[in-house]
């Protein structure tokens, strides 16, 4: 499969007219959107402006040829702020909101010559695993292989668009699996970095201690390239890690002989669809053929308590993050009447979706005096125990493996039948590495019934390189 690498080369060499290309690409986006709803906003004007600027600079022989993303279309999940482009995090409550500043990652992409083409659809504020919990009035994105099925979530639009659109890389965001899970359902690579590796400045918060911006690419090369651009220290995000960045591209095609991978015992067997298990096992075999050593490992805590811990922390933090949306400074407004309390209530009642309201209620409950010790603070302690358990495993293994999702992309009609708790369980494979802040990668490993299946690789903190190394071995083993 062609990576954006060759495309960038053609742009630099003048073989591609970037303005013409961008026109066509925007039209293609519009066409794709008609059926699949991957983009909440297409930033046509800004994209064309960027393309024209690149064209002029190339003509003037300006020194821009070292730019890593020159002319590449980059989409941003709608929770990532782009200056002057409507940014809603998929919620009606932020309709028409145009940020006054770029997120750190957007700044970096622009600096490297990337062209921001629009904002991809998602579950409202990231609250879901199937992108069906979109905000009021938003359209649900559909699986690129079967429009009756989900493309996963919450970065559903990002993964779907990546599958459908060439010469494009997506900025996704994950709190509990929202990069790898949609990547798995759409058959693309999703790389979620270590918590703190990529600045969250300009990311509309879901759960501050778990939110991570990452990359979604058609190839592992694309995902690694965008990660190279966006990772690094940012003084405007206090949780940003002030640690030297790795060159992720140098891990591509690096031999994996002798690397040790742990197969998470509890992630196979009961509850995992047969086709999924079969294909993930094929993926493991490919790694073994390339010289990796696979061994089973039991990780009880993450699978057993992952969901509970995750939802306790995530809803607690989310319920405070969503408090600021009240129709006062930005976003949706209602008729001004009554006391401020009545007004805020009206704005929030009319503009938040059901899942957002559910999570606000859950989180507010978990924070209440008398409950916070039993719920929120306990969850924080379990998180530490989970990190310790992972750390122990990483003394022995370079990476851990499980299916990314235990099921094939489900049909919308089946999703409707799920209870909220069953819905939450979809994240069972992915929440724990997210809770622990560990980098993880979805690697497409095969198709069944014309639907893609993904394998999840998890590495120790700041070991994204190992994930890319292993991921590219599977790709090239094909």
């Amino acid at each position: 499969m062609e990576s954006v690498h060759d495309f960038i080369k053609k742009v630099k060499d003048g073989e591609i007219d970037i303005v013409e290309h961008t026109y066509r690409l925007i039209e293609e986006c519009k066409e794709i959107n008609k059926e699949h709803n991957y983009l909440n906003t297409i930033s046509e004007e800004q994209a064309l402006d960027s393309a024209r600027e690149i064209k002029i600079q190339l003509k003037q022989n300006k020194d821009i040829k070292n730019k890593k993303l020159l002319g590449v279309a980059v989409s941003a999940k709608d929770a990532i702020c782009v200056r002057d482009v409507e940014t809603t995090a998929g919620s009606k409550i932020l309709q028409n909101y145009k940020p006054l500043f770029d997120a750190f990652v957007i700044q970096r992409v622009k600096e490297e010559g990337g062209i921001i083409i629009g904002k991809t659809s998602q579950d409202e504020f990231g609250f879901g695993g199937f992108s069906v919990n979109v905000g009021k009035g938003f359209k649900i994105p559909k699986n690129p292989f079967d429009s009756e099925r989900s493309c996963g979530g919450s970065s559903g639009g990002a993964a779907g668009l990546t599958q459908k659109l060439s010469n494009h890389i997506a900025l996704g965001e994950s709190t509990g699996g929202s990069i790898v899970e949609p990547a798995s359902f759409c058959g693309v690579y999703g790389l979620c970095p270590t918590y703190g590796r990529v600045s969250r400045y300009g990311l509309i918060d879901f759960s501050n201690s778990m939110d991570k911006i990452g990359s979604i690419g058609k190839t592992i090369e694309d995902a690694a390239l965008l990660m190279n651009v966006i990772s690094g220290y940012d003084k405007k995000d206090s949780t940003s890690l002030n640690v030297k960045t790795d060159d992720y591209e140098k891990y591509l095609k690096k031999p994996i002989r002798g690397m040790k991978i742990g197969i998470i015992k509890e992630a196979f067997g009961q509850g995992v669809e047969r086709e999924v298990e079969k294909n993930v096992c094929n993926g493991i075999e490919e790694l073994e053929e390339e010289g990796a050593k696979a061994e089973e490992i039991s990780l009880e805590l993450p699978i057993k308590y992952g969901i509970a811990t995750y939802y306790m922390i995530a809803t607690s933090e989310a319920s405070t993050n969503l408090a600021k949306f009240c129709g006062m400074r930005y976003g949706a407004v209602e008729k001004l009447e009554g006391s401020f309390n009545e007004y805020f209530t009206k704005v929030r009642s009319n503009n938040f979706g059901d899942e957002a309201k559910r999570r606000i209620i859950l989180g507010t409950f978990a924070r209440m005096a008398g409950y916070r010790d039993a719920f929120y603070l306990k969850a924080m302690k379990v998180r530490t125990l989970m990190i310790n358990e992972y750390k122990k495993a990483f003394k022995k293994f370079d990476a851990l493996i499980s299916p990314t999702a235990s099921i094939l992309p489900p049909r919308f009609e089946d999703i409707e039948k799920l209870t909220p708790l069953q819905h939450y369980m979809i994240d069972i494979m992915t929440v724990s590495p997210n809770v622990a802040g560990l980098p993880h990668l979805n690697v497409p490993v095969g198709f069944e019934k014309n639907l893609p299946i993904g394998m999840l690789l998890i590495a120790d903190h700041l070991q994204e390189g190992k994930l890319i190394q292993l991921g590219s071995a599977v790709e090239h083993g094909k």
Partner: protein
Amino acid sequence: MKHFTNDIVIGLEIHAELDTKTKLFCSCPTHGSEEPNARTCETCLGMPGSKPVLNKKAVEFALRLCLALNCEISPELIFSRKSYFYPDMSKNYQISQYEIPLGKQGILKLRDGKEIGITRVHMEEDPASLIHPAGLKESQYVLVDYNRSGNPLVEIVTEPDLASPDEARDFMKQLITVLNYLEIFDINDGIIKADANVSIKESDYARVEIKNITGFKEIERALMYEVSRQQDETSHHKKIEQETRAWDSEKGITFTLRKKETEEDYGYIIDTDLTVVEITGKLVKEIKKEMPELAQDKVRKFVEKHKIKKEDAEIIAAEKGLAEMFEKVAEEINPILAAKWLRRELVRVLNYNKKELHEVEIDEKHIIDLLKLVENKKITDNVASKILEKLIEKLFDVKEYIKKEKLEAVSDISELEKYCKEAIEENPKAIEDYKKGEAKALNFIVGSVMKKTRGKATPKEVNEIILRLVG
């Protein structure tokens, strides 16, 4: 719960603005344009996607205070989100501290040496200010000015150790002195507010909270009102309910805000947008080293260097402005004379005018001019006192004024004798009484001479002359 024995039990929660250049979590200036919302950015406006970054200077300032109050300092600085909906809140949660305050278990001494326990000292951000265009109750809408949003505050919570409104006032005064000495509070423009918990024995210590008392003079007024209200109610067999009241400074009354059985639930969680800051021993040591001189340091210095009485030194050092004035004046004037004048006369005149030193214009130059004349016996104490009273109202050139008003001390004995003789002649009755053995009767003659000389003579001298004349 503590077992109370005092008739009146008062505890305070005080918020003071730290005088940093920039806000607590962004780089917007804390001073500057007063145009509404001019000093704001995405962070202090709470725009989606913005993130807080801690102002290190504010932490240093707060640590200074913890050290000055002898607090136990937490090894970690952790911020929490205090959630409640209010139009002055940019995020509808306030970044504050909860479980582990920066400092705890401190002490602040009152003027009389009584120790008041400090429960905790913590840092938090100030909300925006609300402007009610037609007054608090009448306005149909409010305007929000975010210039103040995100300013750094310290909250100081006392133990319920204060036993009277007067002690509460004194506590506030002592606290402001400390803040001022530490150079972390702008005594002219800085905002200091208190919430007070008040209860009395007669009501079995039912706790009433009074919100939002601004400035330390108000605190005594508000508490005096509230204590007597509670006493009146109980003496008429009315029950004092646990409630929250507000202080209306204009009307001089407190009124019910809300009656609630339980404390409000703010749903505190840790703010994970901020990382835990380690307060290392090294940092504390550095801050200690750079701490400005405190009142007790000044006292020691005044006693050792200037040889003034400890009692005088303590009174002068109790106010930073006064202490600094003394240091300058003592360079030119005999320190003992300077101390006497500053602690007695200047303080008396300020108290009489109900003013604080920083509220009046008088400076060390005028004090030195005045005391030079006293030191050289060019004017009498009496005249100097009167000039000081006038200087508090408005500054003027002391020497010129004395010349113009002919207030130089009468040192010419023959001239004084002339006044004395006149006085004796005019008051034969007093002389008669004196000769009958009423020693006090002479005071009347002395007073009469003082009047004639407009205070330009010293009573001691006049007394001697009269005694000689009367024989």
